[in-house]
Amino acid sequence: MIDYVAKGRMLIIWVVLVAAIVYLGAVPFLPVSSAFIFYMMFWITMASSFNIIYGFTGYLPFGYVAFYGLGTYVTAVFWSRLGFPIPAAILIAGGAGVLLSLIFAPTLRLRGIYFAIVNFSCAMALRILIANLPEKWAGGSFGITLSAAYKPRFSYYCMFILMIVTIFIVWKLSISRLGIALRCIRDDYEAAEAMGIDVSMCRLKAWMLAALIPSIAGGIEAWHTAIIDPDTSFSMMITTKSIVYAMFGGLGTITGPIVGAVFMYILDDLIWARFPILNLMVLGIFIVALVLFFPRGIVGSITRWKPTLRAVLA
């Protein structure tokens, strides 16, 4: 017997997916603010890749902004100082992010709060180092402008592609051996080791992946805004929002960070436009309320309430 309910659900998912992709692909030609949609895709990408490291492996990289910030700087420096074309510079930024993740890799043997604190300090140290590089290399505290390379439509499509690739990676990961191994490590480290999972290799792969994506996203975002400086490139808000958006949707699920990023980004934007100071307060209240009352987020709570929806949502 054919399960019509399940089939119908899959059909709805595909229709929504195709409609979303067509809409997002057409945005630059529509009379909507493409910067708004650009940032929405940026946050979906950031929250989803944050989900790879925190949601799947349980490591809380509180200095997540380091990869993004490095991405913006590498892109800007390679384009403006060394004359590389922007797309090449962005790819180099991705490579630099992976390199940075390898430099940080020894910290992966720390767990829990130690890892979070050390990662946070690494990001702060990187920011200070970059801000103090000679001005002719990295622009000092004034940063670098990329206005000559400004092509919003191109950067929009780059972000579009990156977002789709990121979601695809998360989806592939969640059904792959690696994804299952990562969740085992998160839930019970010793048991995973005893099962024969190569713990350090698995989490290193997840770590590199979670570094690659924000570095590239940083490069594309630098191209889109056409100006970078140490304060915005290493703003704590990048880490904050990635965490809140991913948590709000539901960590460890595929759709969670997407739903969370879309919803919270729109909310954030509405509040920011009207009450700039309250924005910070609302973010804070959301974090406290989420951790205390809904640690599983929207999608996590829904799948708990209706487990049959898990196949569709998670």
């Binding site: 720390l110 604190i117 904050t240 973010l283």
Partner: protein, 294 residues
Amino acid sequence: MKNLILQAIISGILLGLIYGLIGMGMNIIYGVMRVVNFAHGEFMIIGSYMAFSMTRVFGINVLESLIIILPIFFLFGLFIYYLTVPRLLRSEDPEIASFLTFFGVSLIITSVILLFWGADPRSIPFPFKRVSFTLGSQFIPMGRILSGGFCVATIVLLSIFLFKTYTGQAIRAIIQNREAVSILGIDPHKISSIAFGIGLFLVGMAGVLVILSFPAITPVMGQSYTLIAFIVIVLGGLGSPIGALLGGLLFGLAENVGAIFMPTALAPVIAFVLLIVMILIRPQGIMGKAIVGI
């Protein structure tokens, strides 16, 4: 050069005492309930801002404002405790959950500061006539001597409290073994709430005293103090109040002596290097016995 290093050692110790005070507050909270207070620095600067307003409104000096600020901080600590901690202790991973919760609290406090005091830096004029003190060939700023003296007095009183009184001994017992304490008939909630109050008491004190050394306050300073608190407690050992004091002194010395040999803007990097080296070679810190989370 010798003179310069001597000067750096003196100011390193005097500032290190304040850092120690910040770290002790955080470590009592962490040790007793495994709550990572990411809002520590924000609590601290709200203390600075309260002192600022009191000097303006009541015309009292900074040290006198302590009499009003410290009880408020203690009660505020009890309030925050009952609002969040019992729930956090029941969550799957209390450390990370509390880390995120108090990160949210830190954002709320920052926005409250922005609402009440605005984003401009505020400064408090130095309240005493004598600005510095001469010791041999060294000039020592009076503010640092005063704050150093207050820190030493607080630390002595705190040690007496922790080692000689019933409540203090209960706090130390709970740091050593939380489960065993409830078997002994001590109410862990009551003791934990007092510990949280003391943690905030200490950080409020640090917030007021730091004004004597660095009179300018801005709303974004909280985060750097939180980071200092983290570094201090990791250096000293998570959960050990005395370790935090040693960590604070080590940090103060490293920061001030290091500043002689490198550009001032790069000096904070020394602290991070110290932190990372410590975590990689001796993750339990100077005084830490139990290796938590490793």
